[in-house]
Structure formats: structure tokens, C-alpha cells
Amino acid sequence: MTVKTMAEFMAEGKQPEILFWVGSAGSYDDRAKKITKAFVKILNAANVDFAVLGQEESSTGDVAKRAGNEFLFQMQAVMNIELLNGYEIKKIVTCDPHSYNCIKNEYPSLGGVYEVYHHTQYIKELISSGRLSIDADTYKGKRITFHDPCYLGRANSEYDAPRDILVKTKANLVEMKRHKRTALCCGAGGAQMFKEPEKGDKDVNILRTEDALETKPNIIATGCPYCNTMMTDGVKNKEKEDEIAVLDVAELIANSLDN
């Protein structure tokens, strides 16, 4: 798949419509890379002129900040901001709610002010402006339950965008008992993704998977690469991986494009 970098746009003397912030998971994690590619497919279908930073992209510093390392966070932030401002970036879209929250809320006071979108918000905009249409019946009638990512939902009060676009697939959206503002974390946030959990009687992702299983879903939809890993592991732990798929909203939409 051809993906143009900001450096290439610059060399041509052009500005892209948006910068796609891929994020570390989206760049390196095998499962998350599929989400990245699904989103690129959507961008292409909607004829969005987009760029990535490629080798110039670096961690937002979000996870370091939440682990308590404010130094490392600000070093990363200042570096990224210098790069983004150098390219005169105005609009950023990302599939990672952590990057979304960090760039949108924590970069401005360090000099990085951009219009930032989570991919579900951007897809919603593409659909409502008529640039993207979802015609295939791939998921018609399927039971889909959406797991709210903490950093999209509670952290930024965005509960509607992912749901609004999921219903376009004609799927049957079912809610877990804890959803939207009361949604339970998948267990990966706050740098938990990178460490062993503290002693307890259960892992958080198992509890969240149980919430999801109660809705008897065909598909668990996620909007964050880390949630996706946690829920996928949870479903495997419950030995349900043959019946229930864990898919990002971007993948569900990409599979519902009519082409």
C-alpha cells in the first residue's frame, strides 16, 4: 500500500489534508498494524489526501507521563511539536485514543496546537459530508457491543461518534451493563500495558470480557489498539475466539465499504 510521508509532501511543496498519527502500537504491533491498514483503506476510499510522519514519528510520551515520568513525556512532546510545527501541521487524526488525548489536551500548553480527531470522529465526518458511504451488508444483523476506550469516553466525553458509525453497518448494537460514562477500563491504561498487574483475584481484561460476553455478541468492537489486545486476550482466555471476533471500528467500517 502506498503511503506518503510528510517529508515527501514537503519535497513536492504540498500540504496534505490531514496528518495520520499512526502511533507506536499502530506502527509495530502486529494486531494494531491491521487497524492502521484498515484506516488507510478508509482514507483512500474517501479520497483523503493524507500523510504520515513515518520514521520521523516518535512516541507521544503519553505512556511515560502516566507512569509518572514527566521529563520523558515533555522531552518527547517538545521534539514532536518541533517536527509538527516545522511541517505546519493543522489537522491530526489518530486511531489511538491515548495519542488523541495527549496531543489534543497536553501538547497545546507546550506549544503544539492542532485540530485533533480520533479516527471514529473523522470517519463520522467523512460519512456525514458524503465522502464515504457504507453500503455493504457484511455485518447486517450481527450483534456488536462497543467497548468505550477510557481516553475517548470519560477522558474526552466522546461516546457517540463510534456508535453513530457502527449503526451504519446495519449491525445490531447491544450495550454492556457498564457503558459510556460507567464503562469499565480494559486494564491497559496508565502504563499497565507494559507491566505485570498487582496482586488481586482477577485481571481487569477478564472482568471486562465478562461484561462483553453477557451481551452475547458476535463481535466486540474497540476503538483503541490496547483495548483490542486486552479484549482479544480476554476472549481467548474464555475460549470463545472461534465464536467472537474482536475488531476495531475502523476494521468494521473498512469491511463494510462497497467495493
Binding site: Y28, Q55, S59, G61, V63, N69, Q76, N101, T182, V204
Partner: protein, 437 residues
Amino acid sequence: MTYLPNILFAIALIVGIGYFAKNVKRLIRNIKLGQSIDASDNKAERWRNVALIAFGQSKMVKRPISGILHVIVYVGFIVINLEVLEIIIDGLFGTHRIALNVLPTEVYGSLIGTFEILACLVLISVIIFWIRRNVLKIARFIKREMKGWPKTDGNLILYFEVVLMTLFLVMNASDIEFQSLNSGNVVSQFIAPWFSSLPESTLHLIERGTWWLHILGILVFLNYLYFSKHLHILLAFPNVFYGSLKPKGQFNNLEAVTKEVKLMMDPDADPFAAPAEDTSEEEPAKFGASDVMDLNRVQLLNAYTCTECGRCTSACPANLTGKKLSPRKIMMDTRDRLEEVGKNIDANGGVFKDDGKQLLGDYITNEELWACTTCNACVEECPVSINPLSIILDMRRYLVMEQSAAPSDLNNMMSNIENNGAPWPYNQMDRLNWADE
């Protein structure tokens, strides 16, 4: 001689209110031990929050049963306290039901009638509250941190309410004059017959007795607040006012760090320059928090405001899966330590003498801090806009930046970010490989 009750009353009032004022002063001093924080922005939105969240209890009713019962007790508390105004005037001037001289009988009657109905509703609510705590043993009321005083405190207030409401109703029922008005005695008229066989003088004694106990009870209650989770009756309002207005996911950027990072990244800075002689008298900034003085004033106000309701803990993913972390405990520990520091200052003539203890380690353990997923469920749940997460983060900052005491997995993650710009050990040059796979 006839003035004796008036004088006694005035003394009780002065002692009660005076002691309360002293505690309020101590409370303010303790909160000011924290770092100052600017919350002077967006006044309009802040007042709106006070109206909706504190007065309107909009977040309480998100859990309808306890929410609605709480609204009844809260409205009852405020409205019935109007009666206290009359009691104070009567007490000071030796009058009896002074408001009857000012208000038409029907108006007075409908006021007292409302109070009586509310008193009944409060009684019922309080009994249900007691059952929830002691019979149904709802999970969030019996967690680890709810042993000892917090448990007693939770029940004491309920007994207080029962006693005060009963006194109020009996006072009205045994007041012959009031009963003969036959206006406003909506509830007390049913209690009055129990006393009908008693001689008038005994009745009068009961009426006086309950009157005195009622007002003394209220004064005791006022002074009990400082030692109780019930401080929220007063502090919920300023606490909601000072609550953060930013998106919950936005964590503050430490300015002291920004300064250092700017210096490090400044290409014009001479790395070999000798530090300027008289940089300033400022102590070198401490990153993060290890004790209550390192927290900011809003965080300390949060600690005093916490109602110990446990809504935060009952939504916490770490706590729900059996980890030690409980956001409510974070708030209770902060308050306990702050009280300890305050007492230390009182005992040492106004200055804090190092007691070899701190919030981190002696109250809150590393294990609790590292269990947090920063999910904001606790912040979302809190009915009075408390933010336990901000304290957890500030203490993690201390652990990492002052003590390099992160779990080893996290140290690996952080050195990966430093070395190759990703939390995993991948080469930055491979960032775009996905496009070709």
C-alpha cells in the same frame, strides 16, 4: 432569675459556635499547607457547577436509590434548619414561637407542617440508609478502609438524625399552645395523644426538655462535623467550585519540568557554563508528591470534602479485581495524614517538626499507586467533584522522578522510548514497515 435560661442559652450558643469557628480556622490553615493553585478562570462555569452538582446534586441521583434518599435528607436538613432561626431568637429573648407574632397562623402552620412532613421523610430515609449499611451490607460500605471510625462515623450521623428529628416532632407534640392552634401539626397531632394523660406541668417539662436537647444537639452536630466525613455538608460547595473544568484525560504539565526541558533543548544554552552564582533563594523544585505539603490546596480540600461514599471505589477496575488500590482510601489517607501534620504543628508552636513519616509509604503504598489504570472512573463517579487520580499521579511522579522507583518493566518501557521512540525495543527506522507488509 427569670433571665437564667436566656443567659444559659447565650453561653451555649457562644461556646458551640466559638469552638466551631476555631476548627474552621484550623481547617483553612491545614488546607493552606498545600501548594497554591490558580483556579480563577471561568467563574461562570464554576458557579454553574456549584448550582448543578452541589446544590442540584445532579451526580448523586446517577445512582437513583441512594441519590433520591440523600436529596430528601439534604432538603430536610436545610429546610428544617429554618426552624433553628426561631429557636435561637426564642432562646435569646425568652419568647415562645416568635414567628407566630409576625406571620399569620396559617402561614406559620404551613411552614411547620412542611417541616414535620420532611422530618418524617428524613426519618424514613435515615432508617433505609442504616439498613443498607448494616443489614444489606452493600459492598462499598464494608471495604477494608471502612473499619473502625469511618464505620462508626457513618452510623453515628444516622443516629444523630433520628434523635434530632424525633426531638423536633415530640417538641411540637408536647407543646399545648401549638397543638391548640391546630395548624401545622400534621404529624405531631398523632403523637400528641400519647401525652394527653400527663399533667400540664409535665407536658411543659417535656416540651422545654426537647426544645433544649434539640438546639444543643444541633450545636453538638455542628462541632462533630470537623471530625467526620460530614464536613462535606459545608465543603462540597467550595470543592465543586474549585473542581477541574478541563477534559478528564488532560493531566497537568509540570512547569518546573518544562523549564528544565527548555534549557536542555535550547541550542543556544552553553552546557559547560558554570551555574550562575545567586540563582535565587528558591529550593530546587521537588517533582511530584511524597507528603501532603507537596499536594495542591484543591487536592487537600478534596480530602476534607470526601464523603467516604465509596462510589469511586465501587467503579475502580483495580479494586473490582481485588487489588489493594481504593481511590476512597487515597482520599481518606490524605485527610488522616493532613490531620496528623496539623496536630504536629499545633503541638510545636505553629511549626511542623519532622516526624519521620509521610503520606507515601506510611499511608499509601507503592503497590496501590502502581495498580491504577488512570481510567478516570473514580473522577467520573464522585458526586462532589473529587479527583483521587491526580493524587495518585503526583505520587507516581515522585516515585519515578525523585526515587527512580518504577517497577522494572516500566523502566524498560521508558528506556525504550528514550532510545528508539517507542515503548517496545523496535528500531525507529522500521516505523513505516507496516505499509509494505
